[in-house]
Symmetry: C2
């Protein structure tokens, strides 16, 4: 057997991104000094800034722009809610255990990994058949498997001082919204259609957490439940604004043929040809595509996959996952579910609370479209899409758009002495007060500081040097081109706006400044 | 026994606020249609808007303004962390159970309620003595109590598919920060002093949740851990900016004398006279006082109570709770702990990870000041402080400052017809695009709409009437005075800024507009 030295061993892209994330405080394991907890991560200062920008972008574009309502529900929810929703009976993954080493695996993933075939949604018996027919063995010890069984993915706890008062950590944010539907619609005097948004943590007791922040046990969702009267599903507000946008869709027919690349079709045509269940779904798919592009995910790596019948709950009118082609393969990042009337009617039945709402056609139970975006997975897609190793520099860097870069601008004095640091701090405070996400760095050689700034994807560096003290000009360095221009200190805030919005590049800005002084 | 009809029965202030909160979608029980879960609440659309404003205010004032770092940790944390932190052994409340009806109570609260004496921090044996000496009985059935025992307040869960892998829902956000201290300080190249902030959910298995959103099992904290070298504790950055501000402090000596009203003393004097442990603590107490005033809590209802020795952990250098005088009595809303080096040294010992950081005096373990603000409780204080029943109107209303009011402005067409609604929608969109939190209401009589707007504390209503269609002016109605002025539509966004920042009242604004047209 050949030996491979560590330096020769090619690191996967995921490993590289995990390394820089650990090192630069983007994300790292929870309780790491005690060995961590599988599938749990803390977001550090840079990761938190990115998440706040992402959530704010979503809040503006998916909530406020649509006049939807936002709520914030408890993460701990009583058992009865999940009896009614079906999670207690059906929110399961198939589990197989090795007879020899007792390791546990997801049966469907064992089949997918070893046979490269989709085994989503198969019953334990069907999975057992495939495993035994193909003589699949334990990946850890080559032992035989016991029979597969269903494993419920909800995390359980007990509240109160008497035992037996069971509650669950919610597996999706949606149930808070459905169970409070009357409260929300009444208190806001809401008329159909309207949406209710929620950002918050959810929990899934994954059998084998893996792939850094991709398959974890605690994660944050940005979710919408949009309620429509049936006849509004094909005529949602503002559809015409986005009807001509192209959507990359992978149909069930293409999947049956083994095709992986989506077709491109306009939202309007996808509805007309019944590729999508309705225009309401189409509208939100377009918005998601736009959000992903805006935060730096290469749009050519996105597809909306029509989930196969066995992957789709019986009550659904069609689910479409937004998947991103990552180094680890196509990965679900957004779930779009057409939940129809299922949840409200289930809760109406179980709780004996009327869930109808007054509408022009009478008292109706609305239909639900649910676009549910994973915050951590979206962030990982951005990290992979923006990661750069280029010949022109000795360091890796992130080409983040300013919509998601942790910092907009880094301020550096060339030296710490001769009043340069004080001047730089003054400019730092000025940029901060104008609302720019700003970081100050005065330690080490300037080249090192540019490298550190690039490594975390800060679009611009502003440097204060001896000329600044003479003529009140500073240099702006562009992360992507590494070019620099000088601008008057008083023009800096306006210049940053023009640069960060992408209206001007460094060159155009220099020309503009020349014109204005001529 | 006299009979009291329901209408005669005086509703407590807490009940009134709970009623309007349920009805108007501020907060309501989680899973209410199934009877709810004791101590768990969902925040509805209005409550969520208020919380977002509160958190943003804190983020600007306590985090960004101080150049602190913000992180977001996992809520599920492995057991070893809480072994080291002491929570597993010591995060307990004393529990007593009734021998007859089996009801459970907090032993110290039974004593406080029945004897009006503080029983915080007493051992089960001490509590048993007081209970038996005073012959205290079960409040539900008058039965006798069993002996008191310690009850751990952490909520437990098991992760993974093999049983026995115990983790806890964090009881405070702090431990994520302490266990990741090296990651955070290294990745940000942080130099002492620096602070790490976190907003997030925490869990306490309260024995008897009560008082609406005050004593709950799941709540949100806005927490800071600020790290200082020992010699910096009395010389924190920017202390001089706040040194002369007055702090309402209740000393241990006053408490011994049964005094409830605090003394007023400047931050600088409180440090000089050793009433506070150090200037670093004093600085954050002032900031809290300012935050509470800004979001609408009457500053005369606030005190910083020096916790008594039995209420204070052994490692603390002095804890000061910000308490608010509510209708239910003085209530802890913020905890300020001087945790000294306790947490970092405990984790260094337990994890064998060096926690020192480079400083001018060498490698040091920093000292910690921890201001920890309860989001729900702060919100409740605002609700009580701003609640109004006045003779000049038939409805209750909230006199919220614009820093926390769910909406800044409501837009109403006088009628739905004759193009008034279209014009109003145009103005609604314009105000929204300028960044104002705006609500549209076109249903019912205009008086009803003003009442609804007042009830949720919206500072201003903008009404579009027939004159608007003629001369492009709109009326602005002030919630507090119910007065109205007309302003040109094009001046509306600037007018709203002047009004909402409090720079101008309605009258001053009217004069300003007259001047500018003369």
């Amino acid at each position: 057997m050949e030996e491979t030295s560590i330096s020769e061993k090619k690191q996967s892209l995921l490993d590289k991104i995990q390394d820089v994330s650990f090192r630069r405080g983007i994300a790292y394991p929870t309780g790491e000094i005690y060995g961590g907890l599988s599938g749990a991560f803390d977001y550090g200062p840079l990761g938190t800034l990115m998440r706040l920008k992402l959530i704010n972008f979503w809040r503006e574009y998916f909530v406020k722009d649509e006049n939807h309502f936002e709520v914030e529900g408890s993460l701990i929810i009583p058992e009865k809610v999940f009896e009614a929703s079906g999670h207690l009976a059906k929110f399961n993954d198939p589990l197989v255990q090795c007879k020899s080493c007792k390791s546990m695996f997801r049966a469907d993933k064992i089949i997918e990994d070893k046979l490269d075939q989709n085994a989503d949604g198969l019953s334990p018996e069907e999975l057992d058949k495939i495993i035994s027919k193909n003589k699949l063995k334990c990946p850890s010890c080559e032992g035989d498997f016991m029979n597969a069984r269903e494993f419920n993915l909800m995390l359980k706890t007990e509240v109160g001082s008497v035992s037996g008062n069971v509650a669950y950590l919610r597996p999706e944010t949606a149930q808070n919204i459905f169970t409070s539907f009357k409260r929300i619609s009444h208190s806001m005097r809401a008329k159909l259609p309207f949406g209710v948004a929620q950002v918050g943590k959810v929990y899934r007791n994954e059998i084998s957490p893996r792939q850094f922040i991709i398959r974890v046990r605690e994660f944050k969702q940005m979710e919408l439940e949009v309620f429509f009267a049936e006849e509004q599903l094909d005529d949602p507000p503002r559809f015409e604004e986005l009807a001509d946008e192209l959507l990359p869709i992978l149909t069930r027919e293409q999947q049956a043929k083994g095709i992986e690349e989506p077709i491109l079709i306009s939202a309007a045509d996808a509805v007309k040809k019944k590729i999508l269940p309705n225009a309401a779904m189409a509208y939100y798919l377009v918005k998601e595509k736009i959000l992903f592009e805006e935060v730096g995910v290469n749009p050519e790596l996105i597809r909306f996959r029509h989930m196969l019948p066995k992957e789709t709950p019986h009550y659904s009118g069609g689910n479409f996952d937004l998947e991103v082609k990552l180094s680890i393969g196509w990965t679900e990042v957004v779930g779009n579910a057409f939940r129809q009337q299922h949840d409200l009617t289930s809760h109406e039945k179980a709780s004996k609370t009327k869930m109808g709402i007054q509408h022009t056609t009478g008292n109706v139970i609305p239909f639900v479209i649910e676009p549910s975006i994973g915050v951590g997975r979206t962030m990982y897609c951005v990290l992979e899409s923006c990661y750069r190793e280029t010949d022109d520099r000795d360091w890796t860097w992130f080409q983040f758009p300013s919509t998601i870069a942790p910092y907009d601008v880094q301020v550096c004095p060339l030296m710490k002495k001769d009043g340069l640091e004080e001047k730089a701090l003054e400019i730092f405070e000025e940029l901060k007060s104008e609302g720019f996400e700003t970081i100050f760095d005065s330690s080490g050689k300037i080249g090192k500081r540019y490298a550190r700034s690039d490594e975390i994807g800060t679009p611009y560096c502003v440097t204060i040097d001896y000329d600044t003290l003479q003529d009140d000009t500073v240099t702006i360095r562009d992360r992507d081109t590494m070019e620099q221009i000088r601008v008057p200190q008083e023009e800096l805030p306006d210049a940053m706006v023009l640069l960060l919005t992408g209206e001007y590049g460094l060159k155009e800005l220099e020309d503009l400044l020349k014109e204005s002084t001529e």
